[in-house]
Amino acid sequence: TKSIKVATDATWPPMEMVDANKKIVGYDIDFLNAVAKEAGVAVEFKNTAWDGIFAGLDSGQYDAIISSVTITDERKAKYDFTDAYTSIGQILIVPKTDKTSKTIADLKGKKVGSQIGTTGTMEVKKVAGVESKTYDEVGLAFEDMASGRIDGVVCDEPVAAHFALQKKEYKDKFKIVGKAFTKEGYGIVVKKGNKELVNLLNKGIKAVKAKKIDTKIHTKWVK
């Protein structure tokens, strides 16, 4: 069978992360494994820093990326995407002490953090008057908010739920405000022009969705 190498930035729980045995696990991992099974290919995951994850695709260090990559027009201009395999949205988290803010726009004159190069960053930058701060890992943004250096964090909905609910310290200190304010789809990224792989993966995604495997995976990781 055909084997593909897939990059992921395993610092984005619960979508992709490293477990206690240093195995890469998470929603995306389970999902792609299911897709691969349906499509009849073997997958090898490679942990890669988010910062350069697209550069690695350019240089051919791997064939695809599955790392909670939102399908955007800018990205579509440079890379090819599969069909969206799940839909999520960006969400705002603020300290519990902040009783007033409901949207990013309410944080004018303040600092909002996000992971570098994510759609979260792009959303923050859209709002004039809010200072954007970018982090290598989204966890560091939460740490910084715990130290009071920033006033809000924007990230993907499942990640927010994970961070805000799982760690006691964060649960005591932070709250999610409002609902997801964007509608995005995650896609698997391949090099521009690699139609063959896109078609193969799309076929697998369709099959997985048809068999409702994805809802099982969803309940397993996102609860």
Binding site: G52, F54, D58, E74, M122, T134, D136, D144, S147, R149
Partner: protein, 262 residues
Amino acid sequence: MINKQSTHTPIEVGDGAAIPHKDDSGLFTAWRIAFFGAIILCLFLAFGRSEQYLAIFKFVPDGILVTFKVTIGAILLSIVFGLIAGLGRISSNRLINGTASLYVEVIRGIPLLVQLFYIYYALGRFIRIPDILSAIIAMAFCYGAYMAEIFRAGIQSIPKGQIEAALSLGMSRRQAMQQVILPQAFKVVLPPIGNEFIALLKDSSLVSILAVADLLRRGREYASETFNYFETYTVIALIYLIMTLFFSKLISLMEEKLNDGH
């Protein structure tokens, strides 16, 4: 032969950029080629064939400012830390001496990047200080350990007779230090401090990891949005190169001035 060269000839290679001295013509020429070459390349890229590069140059300037802020803040603060720890290292009080030595040994034993993470995030738990300031404190705390050794060596390079002469005139230890030893030591430590400055300018790029929006961070942000990694890092590297070369030249000129003086 009568073995003039001992096996322990100390070879000095600073961790800063190569400060071009007059007597090293190779390096001197290399400095020129590198410096002017980098400037010309920058101009060529900015106003040359593609818009891309110009966009990068427009994106990063506030990062340069932050880089300077961090560098200058950290060097000044590290001089304070270093002076205190350096005086501690030559103190005859065992506790003070021990503490200062431990500071020097522990700090120099841990990677700067790890310390930055540690001080930045650990510090954040206990005191609430703005991010650039905590980055500066973290950098200065690390560099203070190196500065301490520079000050210690500088002070110890002043002949013992100097302090004895001051003491025998009735000055207190503190007065002798302030009036006689430190002003002389100051001149001796200037060149190595210059070297540390350059090293710090470069190492300040590490604060980008702490989400401080310095030059490198700005570049990474730009690259992660536009995917123009090659172009962006080329520009970032060129800007750093121009800055360090400029300052190493400045330092070399200052040293010359200093040596020309009395």
